[in-house]
């Protein structure tokens, strides 16, 4: 296999707050290959967004510290100069944010905001930049793009604004797109359209995508690989099929059990008991043990390491449970879900 596009090694990010130091990302390593779609799943505050903002160098430098390596095409971005970072941002790595209602500048026409992205990175005339903006608006499916280029963000609906954000992210044909919960703020029908659009453009442009979400359903539809994060750690990662067919971590089981289903008649929606831990003072041992139904004495003392699942070189998990129990429990959970689907 060739060199990965993005190689994150032992990334740690801390924020200095009034209450102490919050370690929002703690020893995270992963790679993204060219053209790959990686889904990062986890609850709010699990560190998935901070991981990506750190990759982009968008954390407030005064309030945060990061260590480790972020190798983009072999070059470390974490220690790159501000100038080099700006060259990469929006050009080689682009980002789509969660809330399209607030992510566009309300006082500038969208044409100007799109063209700005082009002019920052390419040596073209304003006219060519606007031409490119028009093309991209058409590509993301905005009707009457020629006229709408002169509209302001407030004249677009949420879904249309997210299309504009996607157009802005793709306008310089980046190698990597980081989409931070791109559909969370949208209504359900629009969510599906935006995901389909993202998937189609990703294939057309051949960009790699990191898709951050808390929605396993979104990941199942779009991602090649999945990384499950809990309390600043990676607890499980692997190809999407492995995660969905043979989940190996109790937290992943919990996420799968929490998926609401129309076809299953349950009295109450399953939920993982308790709250995610405070990162100011995370629990010792396995961070999930206070909420885990399978917790053993060892979980309170020893932190489980991310290890490969026997027989699958791509699938890794961090749990002390023995392989036999995990296999049995995962099979039982899947049986329950499929049985629910059958009735």
């Amino acid at each position: 296999m060739s060199e990965p596009l993005l190689d994150v090694r032992d990334l740690r990010t801390e924020f200095v707050t009034d209450d102490g130091i919050v370690r929002a990302v703690d020893g995270v390593s992963f790679t993204v290959e060219p053209g790959q779609v990686l889904g990062i799943v986890g609850e709010s505050g699990s560190g998935k967004s901070v991981t990506c903002l750190t990759v982009m160098g968008l954390n407030d430098r005064k309030l945060s510290r990061s260590t480790g390596e972020v190798l983009f095409r072999g070059q470390d971005l974490l220690h790159a100069s501000g100038h080099r970072l700006r060259e990469v941002r929006g050009n080689e790595i682009a980002m789509i944010f969660q809330d399209p209602m607030t992510s566009l500048n309300p006082v500038h026409k969208i044409g100007r905001q799109l063209a700005e992205a082009v002019l920052l990175h390419q040596d073209v005339s304003r006219k060519q930049a606007y031409e490119r903006a028009r093309e991209m608006l058409k590509a993301v499916g905005i009707p009457r793009a020629e006229r709408r280029i002169d509209d302001y963000p407030h004249q677009f609906s949420g879904g249309m604004r997210q299309r504009v954000m996607i157009a802005m992210a793709l306008i310089n044909n980046p190698d990597l797109i980081i989409a931070d919960e791109p559909t969370t703020a949208l209504d359900v029908t629009t969510q599906a359209q935006i995901l389909a659009l993202l998937k189609r453009l990703q294939e057309d442009f051949g960009s790699a995508v990191i898709l951050i979400t808390h929605d396993l359903g979104v990941v199942a539809e779009t991602a090649d690989d999945v990384m499950v994060m809990y309390a600043a750690h990676i607890v499980e990662r692997g190809p999407v099929r492995a995660i969905f067919n043979e989940p190996r971590h109790p937290y992943t089981w919990g996420l799968m059990g929490s998926l609401p289903r129309l076809d299953v008649n349950v009295e109450r929606l399953y939920q993982i008991p308790g709250q995610p831990p405070s990162l100011l003072n995370p629990p010792a041992g396995c961070r999930f043990h206070p909420r885990c139904a399978y917790a053993m004495p060892v979980c309170r003392e020893k932190e489980p390491r991310l290890t490969l699942v026997p027989g699958d070189p791509d699938h890794a998990q961090a749990c002390h449970l023995d392989e036999e129990t995990k296999r049995r429990e995962a099979a039982a959970l899947l049986a329950q879900i499929t049985a629910g689907a059958a009735t």
Binding site: R86, G90, A94, M95, F97, S103, P106, E116, A117, L120
Partner: protein, 323 residues
């Protein structure tokens, strides 16, 4: 747009009538007789009654008010002073440029001090400059304007002798008897009063600009701009400033309107016979027409500046539509 302006104008008329009417009512509630004052101390009761009749004070106040309105609308005249028999229009026209010089001069200084200072403080919070600016803000807000005025006029005007201590010079149509005149003398006399007023007002503005810029810096679209790869200078200039300045525009407009009616302390300290002094004098003499003239001027100024603010706002912020 045309509909908006028509509606705005009608509202202005309603506001105008309300303000002037209230002035009339208050004036007639006060138990004093302007006629007695106008007639002089040794006047006989018959003489006072004559003066009353001459000034129209023998009629009920609503009749007087309607007469006042009629004269204003038909002749564009605000009447004559009870005391000096001078035209109120002329009196206001004499006093207004003085106050306007003070207020606009001060506003220009306020903005040129507070916008850069506010922006720098916001960009480097807790830095030395930020802390120094915040101390200045505290001083500016706490100290009374007349005190700052007196200290400045003593230090800069008297001890250093850099500026005149008091007085005003006309720019245009300088009277022959005047000791000074022209643009240079005008600016030379106005610099200290303007600076004083600016020092008082700028504190609030520095705080305000700083808060707005800091707020805007945390907006999602600023992060978007950074994610595009825009250098920090561009981010501030094209994405932060315009959004942060929107509320400042409103505040400037409101304050100009307000100050035009009442920068009286500073006028008094620097011997500027502007609208504030005129108002105070006319209240002391129960000179209703002149007082009414000042009220009208203030009300019109506020109405005009709030309209200007709204138009400006709609021009800067595309989300606002005037309907």
């Amino acid at each position: 747009m045309a509909r908006y302006l028509v509606r705005r104008f009608l509202w202005a008329c309603v506001l105008f009538i309300a303000v002037t009417f209230v002035t009339y009512v208050i004036f007639f509630v006060v138990p004093a007789n302007p006629a007695r004052l106008a007639a002089g101390q040794s006047a006989t009761p018959e003489r006072v009654h004559e003066v009353e009749k001459f000034l129209g004070l023998d009629q009920p106040f609503y009749v007087q008010y309607l007469k006042f309105l009629k004269r204003l609308v038909l002749e564009g005249s605000m009447g004559q002073s009870f005391v000096t028999r001078q035209s109120v229009n002329e009196e206001i026209l004499r006093a207004a440029p003085i106050t306007a010089s003070l207020v606009f001069g001060a506003m220009i200084l306020v903005l040129s001090i507070s916008i850069p200072l506010g922006i720098f403080s916001a960009l480097r919070p807790r830095s030395l400059l930020d802390r120094a600016a915040m101390i200045y803000v505290l001083i500016g807000i706490s100290l009374p304007s007349f005190w700052i005025g007196l200290v400045l006029s003593y230090l800069v005007g008297f001890r250093l002798g850099w500026t005149p201590i008091a007085g005003y010079c006309e720019v245009f149509s300088v009277p022959e008897a005047a000791a000074c005149g022209g643009l240079w003398d005008w600016a030379y006399h106005m610099i200290l009063p303007c600076l004083t007023l600016a020092m008082v007002v700028a504190g609030t503005y520095v705080r305000f600009v700083r808060a707005e810029v800091m707020d805007t810096l945390n907006m999602d679209f600023v992060r978007t701009a950074r994610a595009k790869g825009a250098p920090e200078r561009t981010v501030i200039r094209t994405h932060v400033l315009r959004n942060a300045m929107l509320p400042v525009v409103t505040m400037v407009g409101m304050d100009i309107g307000l100050l035009l009616g009442g920068a009286i302390f500073i006028e008094a300290v620097f011997g500027l016979n502007g609208l504030g002094g005129t108002a105070l004098e006319s209240i002391g003499r129960f000179d209703l027409p002149v007082l009414q003239g000042v009220v009208i001027f203030g009300a019109v100024a506020i109405i005009i500046f709030s309209l200007v603010v709204d138009l400006l706002y709609a021009w800067i912020d595309p989300r606002i539509r005037l309907t």
